[in-house]
Symmetry: C2
Subunit: 242 residues, 2 copies
């Protein structure tokens, strides 16, 4: 059954009017009619099943039949990652990270930034589309573009992945989370992924002074967006095995 | 330093003539001149350093200065994965898998195939470009499109990831490799990733009869190309920690 996204907060409301873009998609693209059933997610853990009772293209109305509410995951995957020069690549990261179960994303602004401006509305659409496709019920939270120094101050403690050979980064994500399990809790461990030109030594030093631990993402050199997906996967695997 | 790809087999040859596309890129796009240095990889573990002695756009000639030869990895990551309807997605997989260290890729043709024809030359270019960018010295091997039943016959033993709830697939890739380490050696464990419509029960049955083990890729539903990258990461992590 097709899945649509509507920001429904009142779970008991009887009817739902689809927003313009979803209405148009249902009525004009998919040619859905009165009587057709659909699923609606609100991005907050709820999955509604409903039936179309008005198929007007600009405002399709759905009669709610039933709903289920899912509990959020106990763990929380938060990746703070520098926007890439090429937007496609960052959008790929957003989609893949969502499929893999990310909970929170913060685009970070670093000294070696390749891109200093982003389009949050576009990124939000990617996330919504990704939860529909991957059957997730919780929409990842997308934060505003944040200077990396400010992020570090706001999030005392986390992990930072960088590529400097000389700096000590023998630990993998799994080992770091496991060795410091009281400090790095399920809910509280963002991972910093830098731009193609890497973090500066100052940025790394600031992180380390703020209880961040440096980690390695393996022996091969990864693009920013690949590093983001790899980190997401490593954290997911770690918490799923707890 | 810029990296170029030339299929050099004679390591002792003194001069290298770049093929037309690489020549053009060096001479016209990057405007490199006589005296400029460059790196050349042959995809077989060798990294040459050389200096341009003839910068004619159609046939740049490079004087070899030095070379290093790397040993291949001890482990071998082989993903057999169904081509996706959207080529961009499959090309993302090829690029990401290469960054992550994949050694061999076989596009497989399944009953629920969304795409039955592929462009191997285009895929090959993606792989070459990916090894240059990720500083890898070995070019992953790209096999011809192969029917999944034939692949299973040619590769007795491996892992198969599928989405059927009823079928037993409690094991993760790491657990499967670890529990059956005599059967699933570092060099001998391809992983089958199916199309969006999944493998058919017949295809899974054939695999299981041929000593394949069914694995799960986690709790969330992944697109084909995401599953391919995830499997690649999981195998890489497993072997890097041995």
């Amino acid at each position: 059954m097709r899945r649509f996204f509507v920001d429904i907060t009142d779970l008991n409301q009887d009817k739902v009017t689809l927003p313009p873009d979803e209405s148009k998609h249902a009525a004009k693209v998919l040619r859905m009619k009165c009587g057709d059933q659909m699923e609606i997610v609100n991005g907050k853990g709820v999955l509604f099943t409903g039936e179309i009772i008005d198929d007007a293209p600009k405002s399709v109305i759905v009669q709610k039949l039933d709903y289920i509410q899912e509990s959020p995951d106990e763990h929380h995957i938060h990746i703070a990652i520098a926007p890439t020069k090429n937007n496609d690549r960052y959008e790929w990261f957003l989609e893949k990270a969502t499929e893999l179960g990310i909970h929170e994303i913060t685009p970070i602004l670093c000294k070696n930034a390749e891109r200093k401006r982003i389009k949050p509305e576009r990124f939000q659409k990617i996330l919504v589309s990704a939860i529909k496709q991957s059957k997730r019920l919780f929409l990842p939270k997308l934060n505003a573009l944040t200077k990396v120094e400010d992020f570090i101050s706001q999030h005392p403690s986390g992990l930072i992945a960088h590529c400097y050979e000389e700096e000590d980064r023998n630990t993998t994500i799994a080992k770091s989370l496991s060795t410091n399990s009281s400090q790095f809790t399920k809910a509280n461990t963002p991972i910093l992924i830098g731009p193609e030109g890497d973090f500066t030594l100052n940025e790394i030093e600031k992180a380390l002074k703020n209880q961040y631990q440096a980690v390695t993402l393996g022996k091969t050199r990864l693009r920013t967006e690949t590093a983001g997906v790899y980190a997401c996967m490593a954290v997911k695997q770690y918490f799923e095995e707890q």
